[in-house]
Amino acid sequence: MSDTSQLQKLPKVTRPATPSALSNALVFGWRAVLKFKHVPEQLFDLVMTPIMFTLLFTFVFGGALAGSPSDYLQFFLPGILVQTVVFNAVYSGMGLSTDLGKGLFDRFRSLPIWPLAPFAGLMVGDILRHLIAGTIILTIGLILGYRPEAGLFGIIAAFAMLIAIGFGMGWIFIVLGLLIRTPTTVMTLGFTFLFPLVFASNIMVDPATMPDWLRAFVDVNPVSLMTSAIRGLMGGGVNLGEVVLALIAPVVLTAVLAPTTLWLYLRR
């Protein structure tokens, strides 16, 4: 057999200079990009779901909810952006659960690298997903007649806020992904938790028509706070207070769940 002799020819190398934590993280980001290249199917979900939601709500419910589809679109479009980002956060958790089931993370954990680097890579993938989905929804919205009154700057600010929201929400699913070995369970559990948060919010309708007890929840629901801020950023008239309120949940989630992630990851 030829393997042995070829193996002898394998040049011996010594370890190159230790790469920085940032360099480690970027390598994992590159992995996320390669995933898009090799598994384009995942883009289908990512693209079709928001398109369907936008069209469905605008044309089926829009007239009844806001008088006309175009009026509703003006209200709904910033909300669907938030909804999409929140739902998309589930992909990292599923990917992580898959990787852990296959032993890939054992390899990463046995390497002398920055321990959080694999998670930073997941986040890079998430951010790309948010940008792709957000751009598609905004484009459809513009075609259908949505007018972002705060202009280009408003859109850029809103997308930055969306990435912050996605980053914060992503930790929830990363923790679930570390705890649960079956990717579909991560998704089911995630959606069970997210559905009430997304629907009992001000994304689809103005909470003025809701019963008081529900309104009390909707008003403090972090998803509502995020939606109000995005509406303000894109439509103009945002105030600093709204932005701060919207960022509370992502900041708290990151502050609590990033160390939890590291602990869960290193403990075994």
């Binding site: 057999m1 030829s2 393997d3 042995t4 070829q6 193996l7 002898q8 020819k9 394998l10 040049p11 011996k12 190398v13 010594t14 370890r15 190159p16 200079a17 230790t18 790469p19 360099s23 480690n24 390598v27 590159w30 992995r31 390669l34 995933k35 090799h38 598994v39 990787d99 296959k102 032993g103 890939l104 054992d106 390899r107 990463f108 954990r109 046995s110 390497l111 002398p112 690298i113 680097a117 403990r267 075994r268």
Partner: protein, 337 residues
């Protein structure tokens, strides 16, 4: 290439070099189960060391602890001179591990998997690609470099997985059941590869439940059962410890086989087992003298023998003698060593 006898390094004096791995009293429990229950291990540099045991014996847990993947509940260990508990990062710079389940990204190509790891080790741009290509060539995978790993055969996957552990030549390479699930051809290929690596100076710690594998590859073998080390030595030493060997007897009249078994058991004090075809008895014989006397007793009872032989015990038989249960190879025809 040398297919049957263990590497020549086998008899090198063990105290001449410092150990690659030195562990004392390692313990790891999962709930009520003590998966590893106080294991000491000394692995000299540059040899292939096999940890042999049945499923659930604690082999994988032991290896995961030494590879910094699982934290021991008690005990201490050093790997390539680095303390496992206080300097896990330094340990990681000196080791590589190929787990039981392919630790590869199935969606990426073989080459991308290697480039990814090379970059994580600190190779930049072109150097990372060059290292990946060197490894693909060495492991005979160049033809599949741009194929996604999910389309690889079991043998190719294993080879890539081992290649992924050699981005930087490790001091110690951990291989967890490197040939489980492979067909005989792929298994032989992986064996050859492991020998090649050992020849180039890498210390290899492998776990296996195949007695044949340990016998073929390893200079030293530790037998693990229920989280404890029950024996350790060269394969020759383990066999010798079991007794001088097995006595195999066939009677001319098959009807008298039971009678013969009774006499042999009484004489030698061990249980006789029948061959699967039922025409031959095998029994552990203490010494050649004991075996001779037992044979004489058979002849004395007028039992005519059509055949008899004395053989070194196989590791199967060693394992049986040590644990009271047959080894994983017991049922397989190819298991004769």
């Amino acid at each position: 290439m040398n297919d049957t006898s263990p590497p020549v390094k086998l008899n090198a004096p063990l105290d001449a070099s410092p150990n690659a791995i030195s562990a004392r009293g390692l313990v790891k429990s999962f709930g009520d189960v003590r998966a590893v229950d106080g294991i000491d291990l000394d692995v000299p540099r540059g040899i292939i060391f096999a940890v042999l045991g049945p499923n659930g014996a604690g082999k994988t847990t032991l290896m995961r602890m030494l590879a910094t993947l699982t934290r021991p509940d008690a005990g201490s260990a050093s790997v390539m001179g680095h303390d496992l508990m206080t300097a896990p990062h330094a340990v990681r710079t000196a080791i590589a591990m190929t787990g039981q389940f392919a630790s590869l990204d199935e969606d990426l190509t073989g080459r991308e998997n290697l480039v990814l790891l090379a970059r994580l080790w600190g190779f930049r741009g072109r150097a990372a690609k060059a290292r990946a290509d060197d490894l693909l060539t060495a492991f005979d995978l160049s033809h599949a470099a741009t194929k996604q790993v999910k389309d690889y055969s079991g043998g190719m996957r294993r080879r890539l997985d081992i290649a992924a552990s050699l981005i930087v030549t490790p001091g110690v390479l951990f291989l967890d059941e490197p040939t489980t699930g492979l067909d005989p051809k792929a298994r032989k290929d992986v064996w050859a590869m492991i020998r090649g690596l050992a020849d180039s100076g890498v210390t290899i710690l492998l776990t296996t439940q195949y007695l044949e594998e340990a016998d073929q590859l390893a200079a030293r073998i530790a037998v693990i059962d229920h989280g404890k080390k029950i024996a350790e030595g060269t394969s020759r030493e383990l066999k010798a410890a079991t007794g001088s060997g097995f006595l195999h007897v066939a009677t001319a009249d098959p009807a008298r086989l039971d009678e013969a078994a009774g006499i042999l058991e009484q004489r030698l004090g061990h249980r006789a087992s029948r061959s699967t075809e039922g025409a031959e008895l095998s029994i552990l014989a203490g010494t050649a003298k004991d075996a001779n006397e037992a044979l004489a007793a058979l002849v004395g009872q007028g039992i005519e023998l059509s055949d008899f032989s004395m053989g070194q015990p196989s590791l199967d038989e060693v394992f049986f003698a040590l644990t009271g249960q047959p080894g994983a190879d017991a049922g397989r025809k190819e298991a004769t060593l």
